[in-house]
Homo-oligomer: 339 residues x 2
Amino acid sequence: MSRLTLALDVMGGDIGPRTTIPASIKALEKDPMLSLLLFGDNQQITPLLEKVPSNLKQRLTICHCSQVIENNQGLSYALRHSKGTSMRSAIEAVQKGEAKGCVSAGNTGALMGLSKVILQPLKGIDRPALVSLLPTMDGGRSVMLDLGANIDCDAKNLYQFALMGAIFAENQLNLVFPRIALLNIGIEDIKGYKSIREAAQLLAADTTLNFTGFIEGNYLLNGKADVIVSDGFAGNIALKTLEGAAKNVISLVRGQSQNHRLKPIFNWLIKLLFKDSYLRLKKINPDQYNGASLIGLTAVVVKSHGSANIEAFSHAIQDAALQARQDIPNKILAGLQKY
Amino acid sequence: MSRLTLALDVMGGDIGPRTTIPASIKALEKDPMLSLLLFGDNQQITPLLEKVPSNLKQRLTICHCSQVIENNQGLSYALRHSKGTSMRSAIEAVQKGEAKGCVSAGNTGALMGLSKVILQPLKGIDRPALVSLLPTMDGGRSVMLDLGANIDCDAKNLYQFALMGAIFAENQLNLVFPRIALLNIGIEDIKGYKSIREAAQLLAADTTLNFTGFIEGNYLLNGKADVIVSDGFAGNIALKTLEGAAKNVISLVRGQSQNHRLKPIFNWLIKLLFKDSYLRLKKINPDQYNGASLIGLTAVVVKSHGSANIEAFSHAIQDAALQARQDIPNKILAGLQKY
């Protein structure tokens, strides 16, 4: 592993530094070659670092920012008033070359807008998109985009998402000719919005892409497609619904063990009997799939959920580190020229 | 329970009569006061009834239809060529008073279009909607609509869905002042489509309704809202995603018991240890929540999933029977006048 510095907006997210700082420590513990620039309010950050061992502290730099972009700020307001905010400063650090990528759990629209302005989209991309990996039932993973960066999308936008998703899947999942599907409310040609039907025609006509048709919400985890493409509204609804459902069902099964008076023997039996199931359940733990990335930009930008817990924000940092070390933006650029 | 006759389109669904006929028998076994009119191809239906006891057969009438509306037919084509089809004939039976409601697993757009033309929307409703009940983690249920009948919706459509959903919740779930939420990609005022933000304003301004704001996909099962409102595209994606995720996670847990060589003791332990969890898992088995209803019409119309199995289609029939006996359309009409 190579040495790497990432810039974090530690003020974003529902809880802010009380989540992002412990998550940063966790990421540093796991990755001895990682350094972090923490953009945020010094007064809130410093007390949270008190008990951190000095060997980890050495790899942390606090970059004080007194301003924060709030979640309820409209995009244009947020962009106009973004100077000196933790989010903008973190992105600028990447632009200046001080960090190889940035992570924020803040306002998605603002992160998208600022990243586009400061880091610029890759040549040939109209709209960068939010992408994430989904676990599949057969133990694999699928790429899904857009997850909320672009609400209204035309056919060309969806086509570009498919292209970027395919390149992302080739690089992150080591796939050849990944299967692409469009999220829709049915598999018949006539289903869904006009933009989706037109995108299907564009994709079907492009023989360099492996377009397999429409996919419905109930097959998202079944590994039927390597790249699942949708507009950001439907994609966001689908992703959050998946996560909520998985969390709820897992908690139903796990909940029993918390209340049971036979807890010790119960836990032993669970380990014995459910070992495989539990390992597989653990695999679809949404905390591990928290990092969504903005792709189509010249640098790595990872958006964590606003509601991310320490574990989840730490995974987002690790995800950004992996993408930066894999040099994903340049691989997408190279892939765009290939197609 | 009162005597009741329902009209079934037995040709709809991915499998057709081989699912719908056994499901009909199952529904008759469970409901001794129920009679069914089976609209479909005599030649396909008759062999499937061979082994059915005569006491059940007495309550079945085959109404031969040689035509079927296919899933891949566009709406306008399907409507123009619907004469004599199993779906149209079943709806007409309701219109003529031969049945109190109908059930189909066929083409959703056609079912919606034909029902609007033949059965008519209730006075004051622009667009009927597909509604269903969702199980919640606290053991309750929520009402969700629209689930696929209307893809493009304006603020007024969404407002009317909320109104119908609230009346449906009051009647089906015995709730007073049910909590209404709009499905969105964030809870802040600025999030989502313009139509959703405007609908939020309409709902907030109506003090006879208990509007609580936006809800995200990950909270759909958490019982935070009694009525979850969205356009038909997002609603359909969310519902199918929920069902797929729940089915997948449940199959991960159950799958272990199928392969394990200690199956007998394993099953015994499962019963002993997981009794509550299993009962709760069973509660969110999507088969039991298969029936989605078209509301806003003058009569009961239940749309089963195309992929419904025997158990699921049988539940759709039972759901239609319940709604017909509860006289839901008239209760909605009365409710509309109250607001």
